[in-house]
Symmetry: C2
Amino acid sequence: MNRAAIFEQIKQKQSFLCVGLDTVKAQLPAEVLQDDDPVFSFNKAIIDATAAYAVAFKPNTAFYETEGSEGWRSLEKTVAYIKEKYPEIFIIADAKRGDIGNTSTAYARAFFDRMQVDAVTVAPYMGNDSVKPFLGFEDKWVVLLALTSNSGSADFQNTPDVNGQPLYTKVIQTASSWAGADKLMFVAGATHPAELANIRAIVPDYFLLVPGVGAQGGDLEAVCRAGLNPQCGLLVNASRSIIYASKSADFAIQAAAEASKLQQQMKVQLQLAGLL
Amino acid sequence: MNRAAIFEQIKQKQSFLCVGLDTVKAQLPAEVLQDDDPVFSFNKAIIDATAAYAVAFKPNTAFYETEGSEGWRSLEKTVAYIKEKYPEIFIIADAKRGDIGNTSTAYARAFFDRMQVDAVTVAPYMGNDSVKPFLGFEDKWVVLLALTSNSGSADFQNTPDVNGQPLYTKVIQTASSWAGADKLMFVAGATHPAELANIRAIVPDYFLLVPGVGAQGGDLEAVCRAGLNPQCGLLVNASRSIIYASKSADFAIQAAAEASKLQQQMKVQLQLAGLL
């Protein structure tokens, strides 16, 4: 999927919501647990309930790997379901991969050729030859970790170099020389709104994937003030606050309500920014 | 597996060889391609051929994920086979994972509880709360990326901070305050022997997992001079040079020969260091 198609969908849905499919089998409502593949059944219901409000879905591979090869199969079915029923929606495998060149190529094939998602999150620690193999696929995207939403982001991402420049801005500056805003996005946590503005100044054109709104406490309005650009430039993710809005039989209805609420807030922000 | 058991095996086998099971289906010899699960058949033959010379096996998840859930199943079968037939051998899932706390916990469960490997490679970029969830499992290990063997390692790992300290040594110093040498190892590429000595000086007691000997060109003798400690303290990995020593029907025999050659060189180094 190319950048124009993402922005088109944002305008149509008046939303830049990414729904994180962080599906933990042990936390599923009793109603789906009797199904053959409860994780997929749950995801299917969440996807149908939230597709009208979301421009992206982001399954995190960790929660599928916990169920082993069966979990990986649930993930494959989930991606195939989205692609078939909602082909306009952007799919991000939140996998945080990255390895030496031939190994990163294998990961890229796993996610782009085999699973056929649109984007993969990649960790920058191993440098250019660990990231570039993901950049060679048409209309596929790397979402590179820059400043993550967790408290541990302070340990290394904020480390200033000899010129006082923190590592996360060096990552952004270096990586933006590897690929343009049509192939590369950055992860920038909603829990750091001041740094978000800094990131936006360094890469005015790039999309930012912003986790941390919802369960992690980030503020949508602050994120928008710092991060919106003329093509929106933001995908704001919420996972647990949507998919676990209720743990009873009404989980899909409550997930839809929660996604709708965020979409309404996003619509206001898009209007304020003159993008609708 | 605890540190004493690893050292015991090193002394018994007179080896600190880790065989990397980076099994690419497209590169397998015709002899195994007709099997139901060629990746597993190949691994089984390689494991049987090299178990006498190796103290660790290290499947890299990328090459299994390229085959989707079926590949993940081949990986599970490979780990189960090693555990059943060679329970003394240390198994490292080379997965380079790392995410926010609850997500890293899911990864740790995937690898330690479900797949039951002994160790997982983890990327440090996201800091303490991304690594610590992997440290809470008895006799399980984190192998943290410090200075990797690829050329891209120069991009960020070598970035000096305001005191001139490169990031990789900050990673090692910081992480060694999170866990001792009984739970934590570091990845230090054989392609950087000078820096290996530096790392050994910072963490005299910790095991180092050293990739880059073999196809990547690292020098075993230089690695040993820089890295051996009184408990050996090294696991030196070779992947492609062993498993693809031959691409014909004699692949297992040639893999054994290649592993044996490395084991003989390691024996000499252990003797020179007075450890045998």
